[in-house]
Amino acid sequence: MYVMVTVLSETRRLKAILKALSNMGIKGSVVIDSMGTNSLQNSYSDYKPFLESSLIAISEKTRYKKTIISTVTDDVLVEKAMDKIQEILGQDLKKPNVGIMFTIPMLTFVEGSALNEYTSFTWDE
């Protein structure tokens, strides 16, 4: 079981990537706004949590990236998912400002229920 973290500059591809991941059985990913250190240099990096991000979003002076956090069950799937993401991005991840992916081993996780909940998407309460 792994946690896969993908930092993505090409945010237009986000939907396609999430769709591909979910087709592969990696469901219920979490997406966060993030920022690379390059774009940080020319940002309003003041201390204002909400306003700052709105300003950035409006002005598009700095480009926000997306960080996707997902849980992946095994090695093979990790490689498959990474290949797929690379394919969707259509460019070499080694180029600057494209993105980065890595996995962290997970010792324990909420077995079954949480994953199933994401997989089936039923809201029967």
């Binding site: 204002k48 990790v78 980065i100 890595f102």
Partner: protein
């Protein structure tokens, strides 16, 4: 391969830390906006409306923090980076509200500045070997 997470409550230090990370040889980092749990409880942010959060922000009531993560290749680099960052933050991270750091092992990695760095280093090494053999 490791990934170093730094939770930083004093955002003033952000650019200093990133500069320092470059100095000690870390390749690239990603920054997330975050918020400490104490901050959430004290400001009752879970009940805040959209407008209230703007007011809070303007009045500097709530304080943002940042999470920085960066991939590191070797353990001694991890130790070195942690030591340098701690010194930069005043030497004692145990004080409340300053921040924290932790390191996790990484099993797979692709892309980013680090992979470029590793690849170009390997290439140089191979060329050197060929050169020596000649």
């Amino acid at each position: 391969m490791y990934v170093l997470f730094i939770v930083l409550n004093e955002i003033e230090y952000l650019s200093d830390i990133i500069t320092k990370m470059r100095e000690v040889g870390l390749r690239g980092a990603t920054v997330l906006e975050s918020m400490g749990s104490r901050n959430v409880v004290e400001n009752e942010l879970q009940t805040d409306s959209f407008l209230a959060s703007i007011v809070n922000t303007v009045e500097r009531q709530s304080k943002a923090s940042r999470v920085i993560f960066s991939l590191i290749e070797r353990e001694e680099q991890v130790q070195n980076a942690m030591k340098e960052i701690q010194t930069l933050l005043g030497g004692d991270l145990k004080k409340p509200r300053l921040g924290m750091m932790f390191v996790l092992p990484v099993t797979h990695m692709r892309g980013g500045e680090l992979e470029r760095h590793i690849e170009s280093r390997d290439r140089k090494r191979r060329e050197q070997q060929l050169h020596e053999e000649e």
